[in-house]
Symmetry: D2
Subunit: 343 residues, 4 copies
């Protein structure tokens, strides 16, 4: 397919795991994008990625890229605590912005960033990639089309194959802002309704060190939506059988669900039973399609002067839910989003 | 298989739907049982069942049967509000007792019944038939054998194909005592641990008349067990695709689940998709095996002078959970079982 | 359900495994049937079954029953080499007849039996129980309703969990008459078309003793139907994972298939994979429903003066296919049914 | 992953659908490969691909590339009737060769090509990409590891979503050389045994025009292997529900199967049934991984001076089977491979 649209010059800020992924997609498969620069505080990391992908420019300081007039957009893949600041600066510089989740750990910073974006009139898209997974999207479409009637019960199971290193967890903002945030966004995406309150049960069942950080590794969350429907999310930092990503929405006229995706499609039958392959074990494998699609849609939204498919407001709502969840756990009661400071 | 054990003469009290089912099993397939009498306040109902099954005796007043010295056991299948009273009288008369769930709607009556049983030294088994379903039993065995390590998260989905008549619901004691009680018992059965507290989110989403009764038709329940593990139960009175009965237990070393049982095993593929059969739509079909097995085990326990596989205490615990759930909904907070009056 | 129709008095001839099964169904669950007598050359076997099921009469010589004017129908469950003779005598005695498959091992005897039935004007039904399995019946209905358009390819996989004893096999008539005969009938039932020719590849792969008998334990059969569609059957006498019973019909507008039925519906996930239960391992378990339904329909056909749902001609066709298969294997070429002696 | 091995300069001959696919993989994701030239008799096609992928050279005559000393390998993606000739010339020029299947439609040409390869001592790999599919490879590994004991029965179902244009079919060599050839190779790959003879049943059921060409669109093939095991292949040119690619191998100790891969993992339940997504509909989607893996292994084999994972002999055997199948259909009898001219 050949596009007559102009190419969007884009730079990637952050050459870590997720930055590398987006860079590779931008360099090889995103139609309409031209990856023209990489930035990383570790200059050699930026240079290495740039070399591998034939990207002409690599810098240590992203501000250099924000000043480049030929760069039209940036993808922010740096550590979370820098997101809000970079969004603000990029907006002031007039760049369209793709930013990995979450925007920040507190709503004050989020709002500063969103205000700058608003003022500059640029596009800001938050990287909730799961919205672009073909199965979840199918669910969303079927729900929106009325296939299941009125949604009554939402169930999200989201379990990681193994916890991240303790050092990472120490600065992660806690399980709700780091992990559940994807599920909070999925809940909003699928139900197309506001969450009214949140109730949390949880514990540190996998690793006592996680508990010592004041964090949780296993949580079960009840969401009550404004329209009366109810959601459940369960998270575990360690599912020994792999990355468990299931969603189900039950309504008055039916149910839609998304099952796990297996590593392969073999089935083995012997005296002991019927055996099949585990789910894809790594989030980059499970969501390989969705990462590409989200970036494609970001580029498309700029080319077509459309609003991005996931907005800064969407990013903020997921953070509100995470903060309400935190408060619910601390106070052992259902907490309304309106009770969260800054909401 | 031929048994040399003596036959247990048993009478069935109540000739409604469930009474008929147990009568048929006792008359045709339960080894070691002799169904010798039927009772029903509607004498003609008792007579009809007796005639169909070649049962020699049919009476209107169950007390007549309690006085018969050749009757060793009774199966109580009358309306719930008569259970506790009949248990008490049957115990005093020295009969072994099988009683449908729940024992009663309040713990005072339960305790009177259990005390009479204790004093008489007879067997009392509560009809939590799902414990005898081959799949749920398999789950219990695998959990007990350590196959999933330490259980972390329990999920029970239990949805009826359609709500009972409003007249029935008006005297049902509410969804927790009438419907969820099976799931509360399943939670105890699988997790082999006490529930510490209960949190409920719910609504009347299916039929506003159910709401007018002060009852709920859709509930999502969080259970926190004494050992820290967490359970979720979701109930709906109306799943348009049939009787949805799924259970999943996730632990440190694996997960066990029980899927729905389909009406048949056909699969149809056409341009629109891959289509397969709905779950068995009626509880008597879905649990046909478990109803037989529970009665067989009741008879076996008498023959072998063993305690019954489901005790009066098990019946009480499920009621405690139901009452805590009710209180949680009313007060919109997690409620400990110890807060329930009478616990 | 109460029927106003008269009860059909029926006797079972043969008190072996399958005779016991039909007797139990007739005595406890077939509406409209009255099991009034059992016959077996081993009188004590007949007496034991009769006692267990409260059947008033047990005899050694089935001829005694054929003379009893109050017996309207017989179910022939004796060894295969007696089927044709008993059918003939029962027909002459004016009894309706249910007979286990196959009618005989040669077409001459089959034709004598069928002529007697024809002359007497009684019902003869052959026990191809699989036609009454809910899933296979669903397939048949969907095909007949045009859901898959014109059928192109039929696939039947039919594998036993273990071979019968060598002594049984020595008199079984060979795999085609003993085992594949069910699949030949299934092919006719589903495709509703005549088979034109048969090609066989096979071997004795499981047990050399089976080969020494001149028999096969593993066969792959190609069927060409008169209308041009093609069928495949594969049989093994030993599937280590259990009783494998799958069927698939592919057509111009879609495909229908029937999958195996599992022992239970548990699923276990651990580091090694996803594990589920084996297929039901025993034909009496797998086809428990179909055995009841076929007998019910036999009784219904008598009550309603309808032709039976499986006719003597159906029984003959399956034997023709078996004999053609045998010839194909011997001559290593496709063999037309019209080439079989007696066709 | 960084490789210290030298890059292999490779040219792609043929810029049609499959040539484009291999070019894209070589240009963007095959480690150790440098795509340096494209050839196509339609020069503009070669130029367009070259431009899109930043390939420095595009020519109309592949011979130009065979003379270039810096090109070490070629991938032949031109029409089938040119394969053998180009293989021969490339071998003489000392290039390593990847060639799409089949090598040729007759064994004489195949042998000329293979002799040239042999003489030149270059690597020739035939593009049986399905061997590199993760699921089929898993089956092969499990069989080779003895997981299913001795293989008894192989079943391959391979059905296309729709027939190619009649013009294509007219020069395709017939269904066996064009379509079944993949399944013949899969049979050899999985069973690791020689085929002794082949029997075919088939017809033109989908499109009478296919029959007018003397070709078939629906075939069922029986394979007898030298070791006595038996295989079945069924092909259809049109499965309305999509690309149906299933394999199953049954043995003395178990069974391995590979199921279809669905477009997405959604499941929808409503009053009519349980509905899920169709199989991936297009071979480039279904086998996207395998096309990459085969090319990677081709490059790896050159770098490591290993024999290629699929040899010219493998390519020849599949053609022998196709020719035996053709003869079997014509003569309506099982045909041994040794009966094929040139074998």
């Amino acid at each position: 397919m050949i596009s007559n649209k102009r190419k969007i010059n884009i730079a990637v800020i952050g050459a870590g795991r997720i930055g590398k992924l987006h860079s590779q997609h931008l360099a090889t498969s995103i139609v309409g994008a031209e990856l023209t620069a990489m930035a990383d505080v570790d200059l050699s990391a930026a240079q290495e990625s740039a070399a591998r992908l034939n990207v002409p420019k690599a810098v240590a300081d992203y501000r250099e890229l924000l000043q480049a007039p030929d760069i039209e957009a940036v993808a922010i893949c740096s550590p979370t605590d820098t997101h809000a600041q970079i969004i603000q600066e990029a907006a002031i510089a007039g760049k369209h912005i793709f930013c990995e989740k979450p925007i920040a750990h507190d709503l004050g910073k989020v709002d500063q960033a969103l205000e700058a974006v608003e003022k500059a009139g640029v596009n800001l898209m938050i990287g909730f990639n799961r919205r672009f997974d073909p199965s979840f999207r199918k669910l969303r479409e079927m729900i929106a089309a009325g296939n299941i009637g009125t949604p009554h019960i939402l169930r999200i199971t989201s379990r990681d194959p193994a916890p991240p290193p303790i050092e990472y967890l120490a600065n992660s903002g806690g399980i709700f802002l780091d992990m559940t945030i994807h599920d909070f966004d999925m809940a909003s995406y699928l139900m197309a309704n506001e969450v009214h309150d949140v109730f949390v049960a949880g514990g540190a069942m996998i690793d006592p060190k996680i508990g010592e950080l004041g964090d949780l590794d296993t949580v079960v969350i009840t969401l009550r939506f404004a329209n009366g429907s109810i959601g459940m999310i369960d998270n575990s930092r360690k599912a020994i059988y792999g990355y468990d990503q299931r969603v189900e929405v039950f309504g008055s006229k039916g149910m839609v669900a998304s099952e796990n995706v297996a590593i392969d499609s073999h089935v083995f039958s012997n005296q002991e039973g019927i055996h099949s392959a585990l789910p894809l074990n790594f989030f980059l494998d499970r969501y390989s399609t969705s990462y590409k699609s989200e970036m494609q849609e970001f580029i498309d939204s700029i080319q077509n002067s459309n609003p991005p498919p996931v907005t800064g407001k969407d990013g903020r709502i997921a953070i509100e839910m995470a903060l309400a969840a935190k408060k619910s756990y601390q106070e052992n009661r259902p907490v309304q989003l309106s009770e969260v400071d800054g909401v």
